[in-house]
């Protein structure tokens, strides 16, 4: 009996020794869901960091005592480093803030132009936040302003950025979500350069940061605009529209998109691509790298404004050829832009490191110049599987 009493006593002591040190009530913590990093003019404190914190009372709609305020609150501090900013933010944030629910990072354009370098080291090394969160670039503006836009659709601005970009990737394919660990591995790698999605506000106004935005039928909203091209961690150029999409086509990140090409003067046919797969082949011929891309697209005709006999397979074959040509032109244009900027955002170097490792080991230091003078060939294969619910368009008489 005595040993059992002793055991209980010791167990009680050992529980008390722990002192509930890790015990935090939910209403004592401030949950940070979004992080915005901007450049600060002050060289002593080069970072201006914005934290977006959930406001729980703004979320509890429907309970009797009602909620007050908006669902999120932003706090901005300036600091020498990111971790210092986190600690410094305690001067304004009323609760103990934790980063375990951090869902996205927005980097201001100016900071990106200066170079990302080891910006993500704090995230990589930290214990709380995860590295599987997407990173965006705030185009023509600051991350601070961007994180302040409250849209009526989604509960928090962070959620609206995430769902807008995911929606875009699914339906149009200009950009794709890049997660922080992929950013780090692209910055590490000698064979692939970074490309990040850019977002901005489509109708910048004073009201976009206020509840007034919620009561507008055409509010200011988050907009996906362009793909940022990086070279050695510094932003060099923006790609827009079709150019950006070509990058995603080559790296096989597009799920579905609309390809428009002219069939007559001022008349277009739209093909919705449903299955897109691309393969990159690299080889070394006579000491020079040769890059070849195979692109397979499966699509259906979803809109046309010219009268063509779409029930005829031969006509479809001609249309396929035209789409192929269009695509080839677009992609070649984008690749030559990338070659001019000496930024291999497609990952051809990575592919080369796998197919010819010894050549890669010798020449990886000057892959930039090799890439800009490399020969790129392309093979696009388009298959139009059906024409929707109708075969021929209705004739206008």
């Amino acid at each position: 009996m005595k040993t059992y009493l002793l055991l209980i006593w010791i167990a009680a002591i050992c529980l008390c020794v722990s002192g509930c040190s890790n015990y935090r009530e939910l209403n004592q913590i401030g949950v940070i869901i979004g992080l915005g990093i901007d450049e600060n003019k002050n060289s002593e404190e080069p970072y201006k960091v914005t934290y977006q914190i959930i406001n729980p009372s703004g979320l509890s709609q429907g309970s009797s005592s009602g909620g007050q305020g908006l669902p999120v609150i932003n706090y901005t501090v300036t600091a020498k480093s990111l971790v210092e900013a986190l600690k410094k933010a305690s001067v304004v944030i009323p609760r103990e803030h934790i980063t375990s629910h951090l869902s996205l990072i927005v980097v201001g354009e100016k900071l990106a132009r200066n170079g990302l370098s080891l910006l993500f080291d704090a995230l990589d090394r930290g214990k709380q936040a995860r590295t599987s969160i997407p990173v965006f670039i705030a185009r023509d503006g600051t991350a601070e302003k961007l994180l302040g836009v409250i849209e009526p659709f989604e509960v928090t601005p962070v959620k609206s950025i995430l769902s807008t970009t995911q929606n875009n990737q699914k339906m149009y394919g200009i950009v794709s979500n890049v997660q922080a660990y992929e950013v780090i591995s692209m910055l590490l790698s000698e064979g692939k350069d970074l490309s990040l999605p850019g977002i901005n506000i489509n109708k910048p106004s004073q009201q976009s940061e206020e509840a007034g935005n919620l009561e507008n039928t055409s509010p200011s909203a988050m907009q996906v605009k362009g793909l940022a091209m990086f070279r050695k961690g510094k932003l060099v150029r923006w790609l827009d529209g079709d150019e950006a999409r070509s990058v995603q086509l080559v790296t096989s990140e597009v799920k579905s998109t609309a390809l428009v090409f002219p069939c007559n003067i001022n008349e277009n046919i739209t093909v919705t691509a449903t299955g897109i797969k691309s393969e990159i082949n690299t080889k070394i011929r006579r000491g020079q790298p040769f890059i070849h891309t195979d692109l397979n697209v499966m699509g259906e005709i979803t809109e046309t404004s010219c009268q063509k006999d779409l029930s005829n397979p031969k006509v479809l074959k001609e249309l396929e050829k035209e789409v192929q040509n269009e695509l080839q032109k677009e992609i070649t244009k984008t690749i030559s832009i990338a070659q001019k900027e000496k930024a291999d955002i497609f990952g051809f170097g990575d592919s080369l490191s796998r197919t010819n490792p010894s050549y890669w080991r010798q020449h990886k230091q000057n892959w930039e110049s090799l890439f800009s003078s490399a020969k790129v060939s392309m093979n696009v294969n388009v298959t139009i599987v059906n024409t929707g619910m109708r075969t021929n368009p209705y004739e206008v008489n």
């Binding site: 529980l15 935090r24 209403n27 934790i98 869902s103």
Partner: protein, 500 residues
């Protein structure tokens, strides 16, 4: 119930000294002495009958009113006795009467004894004793009739499909229910009396050849060593004879259903029946048995397997639901998914208490409700359940005392408690639930994991009469797995018992 019944009784030596005392020759003296010993209890009734021809030929018929069956006394003892006394017109010696009486009394069981102790205990158990004047022999006729309940539906372990009779408080009824189901000559019934004041009948039933002889001997040994004043319920026996006296886990199964007992007997276990309670003990018992309900064998085996897995799952849920919830919202907020986090934060915003206090208060309130539900008179039952639901649920959440999530979690853990067929294991789960809640409030998930390891270690070290408690999981027996987590079809399960 006073504490006295649980102490070792000191008067056991006194009664043994009386056992050898013989009776007097004179009937009147015997009766006087009996009435003295029983303190002139008003339910001792006796009748003196005399022969009209010989006035030394007297007989006394003594029984306890209420315990003895009046009909049998009237028809099988009084009628033939009086008839014989009327007809004996010759002088008969004492020896002749001692010879004749067994042929006159037409009861089905007649024993002849000569000592005082047997006389008193026979009267006290409801038998009728016939005393002859001049003889020191007593004739004990079996007229026991105990007022007891009829065989009804079991109150604690009900099934949808299956037999709906349950044991009663009468030992003989219970043994008869088992005998009716096992009509085999190998079914053994050994009896003993335990309790120096109550002299409670205990019956041990087992199937010779199926049951392990060593365990039967062991059980009998342990039963003989029990020294108490009285045995009121089978739990008294259970706490004395089980292997490990300090554990919260039940080491013997108790059941109210005859079909469950019969099933266990066929598998080679031993049943201990106690007079005065419908709950029969089954030894040895292992952990997986407490999750088996006899209904598993009366339904389709797919459904039965699903329900068994559900029961195991709900056992763990009832222990861990509250503790894991508490650990997640206080120590490991990083483990809660994003969307859930937002809604939990909104709920906890206005609650003034710390999460651990909230959780403990809700759990204790539920336990109180449960106890109240057992003892409440039926008339106000519905009113209290409405009060409970309203107060504990709706109003508390609306007033902001507790958050809705806590109410849901406590309700889930309580409901999953009720799915288990055996109350003894349910009590173990309840006890551990509170310990786990406290541990999780201190150290979170790490504490819960370590406590789980401790519980598993504890369970693995238990033995029920030598059989490891955690088999067939721990000493892993592949063949036994057919009937633990899932139930294979009966033809494949019962094949091994065919050649007995």
């Amino acid at each position: 119930m006073r504490q006295r019944y649980l102490l070792k009784s000191p008067n056991k030596e006194k009664t043994t000294a009386c056992s050898a005392t013989p009776l007097y020759d004179d009937v009147n003296k015997n009766i006087e002495r009996l009435l003295n010993e029983l303190g002139n209890s008003s339910d001792v009734s006796f009748r003196m009958v005399e022969s009209p021809y010989q006035n030394t030929l007297k007989a006394a018929v003594i029984h306890l009113d209420g315990l003895a069956d009046e009909n049998i006394i009237n028809e099988n003892i009084m009628t033939p006795l009086i008839q014989w006394l009327k007809e004996s017109n010759q002088v008969v010696t004492v020896e002749k009467t001692e010879e004749q009486i067994p042929q006159i009394l037409t009861v089905s069981q007649l024993t002849i004894k000569e000592n005082w102790h047997e006389f008193v205990s026979a009267v006290l158990t409801g038998d009728t004793v016939v005393l002859m004047n001049g003889s020191s022999k007593i004739f004990i006729g079996n007229t026991k009739k105990l007022q007891s309940r009829a065989v009804t539906e079991p109150t604690s372990q009900t099934v949808v499909r299956g037999p709906k009779d349950s044991f009663t408080e009468n030992l003989r009824t219970n043994t008869s229910l088992i005998r009716a189901r096992i009509q085999d000559s190998n079914l053994r019934l050994d009896s003993m009396k335990i309790g120096s004041v109550t002299h409670t009948d205990i019956g041990i039933m087992y199937i010779q050849g199926n049951a392990d002889e060593r365990i039967v001997e062991e059980i009998k040994e342990r039963l003989k060593e029990i020294k108490v004043d009285g045995v009121l319920e089978s739990n008294y026996i259970e706490e004395f004879i089980r292997d490990d006296r300090t554990t919260i886990f039940p080491l013997l199964l108790n059941t109210e259903r005859p079909d469950a007992v019969v099933g266990n007997l066929l598998e080679g276990r031993i049943a201990i029946i106690v007079q005065g309670t419908p709950f029969v003990l089954i030894a040895p018992a292992i952990f997986s048995q407490f999750f088996q309900s006899p209904e598993d064998y009366y339904q389709n085996y797919y459904i039965a397997s699903f329900l068994r897995i559900l029961r195991f799952g709900s056992f763990f849920l009832s222990m861990y639901a509250s503790a894991i919830y508490l650990a997640l919202i206080t120590h490991h907020q990083g483990l809660i998914p994003n969307t859930l986090m937002v809604s939990l934060m909104a709920q906890r915003e206005r609650v003034p208490f710390p999460a651990i206090v909230e959780m403990l208060v809700m759990e204790l309130a539920f336990e109180m409700l449960r106890e109240a539900g057992i003892r409440m008179p039926r008339a106000i039952g519905p009113a209290v359940s409405i009060v409970g639901a309203l107060i504990l649920g709706q109003a508390a959440v609306e007033a902001g005392f507790v958050s809705a999530a806590v109410v849901i979690i406590v309700a889930i853990s309580a409901i999953s408690n009720f799915t288990l067929p055996s109350t003894s294991i349910v009590n173990a789960a309840r006890g551990f639930r509170f310990i786990l809640i406290i541990v999780s409030a201190f150290i979170g998930l790490y504490g819960i994991l370590l406590m789980t390891l401790c519980i598993c270690l504890h369970i693995s070290s238990l033995r029920s009469f030598g059989v490891p408690y955690f088999s067939p999981f721990a000493p892993f027996d592949f063949k036994e797995q057919k009937d633990t987590l899932v139930r294979f079809s009966l033809p494949s399960l019962l094949k091994k018992h065919q050649n007995k």
